[in-house]
């Protein structure tokens, strides 16, 4: 029991356990800390932070869907200055392991953000959210084009220095996610975060218009879990040695195990926090128990285990 090894790593960063909050689904950390100590998480992944303050999109910003939800928050946030002044020191004071998520509207934005974060203490890794519209390319999402995806990641890599691991967060709304993953890894990412939300829409049958002010929104929650598992499996097949932070519809230890068997090294919990503020803690203890019940000695052993050749029934 006590010899079970629950630690994991993403690139060179080490984590005490593999359960993280998903970017944008844990507020500033403070709100969840009313329910449990943040230091019990593998890591807090912050809301994607941008250069400047952002009001985000108009409301309505959300619609519930079968086993999921749509959101179009539009990256509301205080901008990097206030973030560095308030959020990071507070997280450090809580003993929270912290992964900072950044988002930009141009390749230059990513560069500046990386430089601002370069020397900040208390950060374990960067998650580079490239599922944002690129204002220099007709609003096309960075992650949807291998060329711009590369450019954003290269820009971070060049400016961050050699220390902080970079995890590029990809959008599932592409024809070949493994190809995009290969591109960002060759551009210097240590790992990939899979998956961001799936583009969706709900029409309000009372107003007879799109329910969200932003019309389309990102689909998350259990509804998309099979898409997440597929994306992780595909990327793990193509890039057996890259770090994968998995996410998408995880609400139980069983769900987390699915993503880990598919190839994730760690798992972020997003939408499930909205229904259950203790979701991460529940997922964590259930996962640890399940892994031991299945006879694994460590989390690392289980990561990608679903890829073993047929006929091998060790567990």
């Amino acid at each position: 029991m006590s010899s079970f090894d629950f630690t994991t790593s993403l690139g060179s960063a080490q984590f005490a356990n593999p359960i993280f909050t998903a970017s944008g689904c844990a507020g500033s950390g403070k709100e969840l800390s009313q329910f449990f100590p943040l230091e019990n998480l593998g890591a807090v992944v912050t809301k994607s932070i941008m250069l400047k303050p952002r009001s985000g999109r108009a409301t309505p910003r959300m619609a519930e869907t079968p086993s999921g939800m749509l959101n179009s928050i539009g990256l509301q946030g205080p901008g990097i200055d206030i973030f560095l002044e308030n959020d990071i020191p507070w997280l450090v004071s809580q003993g929270a392991t912290t992964v900072v998520s950044i988002a930009g509207e141009s390749v230059e934005d990513y560069a500046i953000l990386a430089r601002r974060l370069r020397a900040v203490p208390g950060i374990s890794a960067l998650e580079v959210n490239i599922s944002c519209p690129n204002v220099e390319n007709r609003g096309q999402v960075f992650a949807c084009d291998p060329v711009t995806a590369r450019a954003a990641v290269e820009s971070v890599r060049r400016n961050i220095g050699g220390e902080l691991p970079i995890i590029a967060k990809l959008s599932p709304d592409v024809t070949d996610i493994a190809h995009i993953a290969a591109e960002v890894v060759s551009a210097g990412a240590d790992g990939v975060a899979l998956i961001n939300t799936v583009l969706g829409m709900v029409i309000d049958t009372n107003t007879l218009r799109p329910k969200l002010a932003g019309k389309t929104g990102g689909l998350s929650g259990p509804a998309i879990r099979p898409v997440a598992v597929r994306a992780i499996y595909q990327v793990r097949s193509r890039l057996p040695h890259v770090s994968i932070l998995g996410m998408g519809g995880v609400a139980s230890g069983r769900d987390a195990l699915e993503l880990i068997l598919a190839g994730a090294n760690a798992v972020s919990v997003g939408t499930a926090n909205f229904g259950n503020p203790l979701a991460t803690m529940m997922v964590k203890s259930e996962l640890e128990q399940l892994l031991q019940d299945k006879g694994f000695n460590s989390l690392r052993e289980a990561s990608g285990y679903a890829h073993r050749p047929e006929g091998n029934y060790d567990h």
Binding site: G27, K30, R57, A58, P60, R61, Q76, F274, G275
Partner: protein, 300 residues
Amino acid sequence: MANHLAFALFKNGSLSVSSINRFARNIEAEITSNRKAGAYHHIALSVGEMAAFTRPGNFVAIKVGGENSNMVLRRAFAIYRSVDLGNGNGQIELVVAPHGQGSSWVAARAVGERLNIIGPLGTAFGIPTEPVRALLVGGGYGSAPLFGLSEVLKARGCRVDMVLGASTAMKIYAPLEGKRSVNALTITTDDGSAGIAGKVSDVVPDLIDSNAIDIVYSCGPMGMLEAITKISVEKGVLHQASVEESMACGIGVCMTCVLPVKGEDGVIRMLRSCIDGPVMNGEDVIWDSKRSIPEGTWGK
């Protein structure tokens, strides 16, 4: 008068995260009663010590649909009344309008079943430190938190008038014990099936004048809150409104429930109605901002 009051009001309505939701707990609460009352269901829950920490204006977030539910989000309901029974026992009561899938599920629960709830959540109505003359304005189930507020105000020696409005008589929620807690109750219905035919905003200006009201508290549809804000600004009285935005989490982590609010520094920010609200200063809220961000908002 107004400025002095405003200061006192925010003693219970602080906007700092570290004090908000400090007492929130996630519990399985047994339903001890579920009665139909007009268009609503009055539901009582046994909640242990949660009742002791509840202030008028707080709400709870309820998990809906049971174990195999296709609904992933909680539903928010104002706390109509909370009764601290001592020794860690207590009860809260809700007034539930069956609207869509989730609220209908809540309304249909039987006595003895347990509801997974988180509460108390959000800001509370600010309570003046001196006896003032208050007008409480509720629309539909928006009357729910006002009766508890009324009791507290009365205990502080305030005079409490109340106006309740709805489309039709069935949608007025005004139980006997609630009525007893106010000095005078006016009712309006759009169809005239009870009280005065018309909207609450038709009667509020006169009531403010004739009763020399110092402060208005309101809870109901956003359009009503906007109308009351206009009136209270014109009349120069304070106004606290309990807003209702679509919420995904209720605890401040998702940023879906925002609305534009002008701060003391004059800057408009998109604030979360679940954690910086639901009770807000009416005149600070930029109403009618659905589907657009007001010009000048921070970060637009």
